[in-house]
């Protein structure tokens, strides 16, 4: 479980997060939703120790974030940021290979290499493995970054808008795969998603944020309701059901 206690965060004196206290359940797929600028990425970065905590505390499986060495945390959680601009000329297989670095620190074993191959296969990248990052499409690059995060083989995965640039088929495949990892391997995964129906269809737990605060949290059926979503995004939405899960109509 990730426990977040009294986390405030400011950037240049502007409050971005206000006294956030919540927990992210272990062994579940959690969706973090909310409008642009709500503070989702900021919260995720704080949990992933990419930003330093200014106040409050975060514990991940009992480990206090500010007291645990960063190398050790890299074996517990892997993170994919929203913006990953890389100017290095790397082949996809090399990029994905860096996902194993926390395990071998420069001396990859046969197991590490097998994991890299597996991650490449998983994201449909085997044929592109020797291409340079600047020679693939946006979605293919996004899949490479995802594969790198997966190769890290951690219990916790924090993914900030992993569906960015992905086509319908790859987006669905990713969500399916995430749900499968949670179900079969007991992984704990948190994803920031904008396409609310992916949260509705696959998440076990939803955290809705707005203006640096948590507006609601709980199972999808409780959070993804008409009044709450209308309030969250300030637009009218209709919520139906499809295969026993909420289906949100928001595009008309």
């Amino acid at each position: 479980m990730i426990q977040i206690r009294n986390v405030d965060f400011q950037i240049h004196g502007n409050p971005i997060l206000h006294d956030i206290s919540t927990s992210i359940p272990k062994g579940q797929l959690t969706a973090l939703i909310g409008p642009n600028g709500a503070g989702k990425s900021t919260l995720l970065k704080l949990i992933a120790r990419l930003e330093k905590l200014q106040s409050g505390s975060v514990r991940i499986d009992g480990l206090d974030l500010s007291a645990t060495p960063t190398e050790k945390l890299a074996l517990v959680m892997a993170v994919l940021s929203q913006h990953t601009h890389v100017s290095s000329r790397l082949r996809l297989c090399e990029l994905v290979g860096f996902g194993r670095w926390p395990h071998h620190h420069g001396r990859p074993s046969a197991h590490d290499r097998a994991e890299i191959t597996r991650a490449l296969e998983l994201f449909d990248l085997t044929a592109l493995a020797d291409r340079f990052l600047d020679e693939v499409s946006g979605g293919q690059a996004q899949r490479a970054f995802l594969a790198m995060t997966f190769a890290q083989a951690t219990d916790w995965l924090l993914l900030d808008e992993p569906l960015n640039n992905l086509d319908m088929a790859h987006a669905r495949a990713l969500m399916r795969h995430l749900a499968g990892l949670v179900r079969d391997q007991g992984k704990s995964i948190t994803v920031v998603v904008h396409e609310i129906n992916y949260a509705a269809a696959w998440a076990d737990h939803v955290i809705a944020m707005k203006d640096g605060r948590i507006l609601a949290e709980g199972p999808p059926a409780d959070v993804l309701t008409e009044p709450l979503l209308s309030r969250l995004y300030d637009v009218p939405v209709a919520v139906g059901t499809h295969q026993g899960r909420p289906l949100i109509l928001h595009h008309v």
């Binding site: 990419l50 892997a78 940021s81 990953t84 290095s88 790397l90 860096f98 670095w101 420069g106 600047d134």
Partner: protein, 319 residues
């Protein structure tokens, strides 16, 4: 597929042998076994000089790779970010304030001022908008210009302009000609340290967030990188003078051919840098034979041509 490392090693080896055989005195390599004078010329003059050139080229090229990696910009090198000029400033100050200090003290001071100069550059570019890639090299050139101007001004006040001029062109003690290369082993060692940390520099190049996510604290890697770049620049400036472009063009060429997986590419960068500077040194010794042109001058001409070609040629595809 051609493997870059063996090819570069072969080229370097032939340049190495060529460098041993040319010079004002006619010496054949084969005679060195029997002829004491020939052996003396080889061991006391040609070999040290050749080693000095090889070490300089290798270390500068690796320093360039490290610089480009920590700045995440391909258009910089130690000679365009104020590092070399800062080393020169330190050396000039030592010449004025403590002219009798031993050479290692001067090198230490030059390394420290080089470190301060490159740290200033890093602080400067942190404030630039990240997307403006071309501002980084521009900021570096401006900083180099400013520090260079300070060096010139101080030199002018102390009537040392000519001294600084020759020494920047050919090294304070003209280390190449004198074959004073021993201290360059330290620069070579710094380059080897960079190779040991190759993965760390490669990960740093992926951005702070990716590095932290992989459990790598960027700050110490950055510091190590700055140290490597500063030590290499300072030792090179002190012993052989400013050698432009190596740290800029060699990493770019190698990156285009084999990418930025530094563990694989740093050895190639080092050999290619050594080969390029050796070639320029050989040219410098031949154009007005039996006199010679400083290697930095030749490198400036060759390097700028290569740089222009690099700017206009598309990158090579991976397959």
């Amino acid at each position: 597929m051609i493997r870059p490392l063996p090819v570069m090693l072969a080229i370097l080896l032939s340049l190495f042998v060529t460098s041993l055989t040319i010079g004002a005195a006619q010496v054949s390599l084969r005679a060195a076994g029997s002829d004491a004078w020939a052996a003396l010329v080889l061991m006391e003059s040609r070999l040290p000089r050749t080693l000095a050139v090889v070490l300089t080229g290798a270390a500068l090229a690796v320093a360039g790779t490290v610089m480009q990696q920590i700045v995440r910009n391909k258009f910089v090198g130690p000679d365009t970010t104020g590092t070399s000029e800062s080393a020169g400033l330190g050396l000039l100050l030592m010449t004025i304030l403590a002219p009798d200090s031993p050479v290692w003290v001067r090198m230490l001071v030059a390394s420290l001022t080089a470190l301060a100069g490159s740290a200033a550059f890093i602080l400067l570019i942190r404030r630039l908008p990240a997307r403006e890639v071309m501002l980084v090299p521009v900021a570096g050139i401006i900083l180099s210009g400013v520090i260079g101007a300070v060096v010139t001004f101080i030199a002018w006040r102390y009537d040392l302009v000519q001294y600084v001029g020759t020494w920047l062109a050919a090294g304070g003690s003209s280390g190449i000609i004198a074959g004073r290369y021993e201290t360059l082993w330290v620069a070579g060692a710094a380059a080897i340290a960079a190779w040991f940390a190759a993965d760390r520099f490669a990960i740093l190049g992926l951005g702070d967030n990716v590095a932290k996510g992989l459990g790598l604290d960027p700050a110490p890697v950055m510091r190590l990188g700055l140290m490597v770049v500063s030590v290499v620049s300072a030792l090179v400036v002190v012993t052989v003078g400013m050698i432009p472009f190596v740290g800029l063009v060699v990493p770019n060429i190698v990156s285009r051919i084999m990418g930025d997986d530094l563990r694989r590419s740093i050895p190639v960068v080092a050999t290619a840098g050594a080969a390029l500077v050796s070639a320029c040194d050989i040219i410098g010794r031949l154009v007005i034979y039996p006199y010679e042109v400083p290697v930095g001058l030749i490198m400036g001409i060759v390097g700028s041509v290569i740089f222009l070609i690099l700017l206009y040629r598309p990158t090579r595809p991976s397959t």
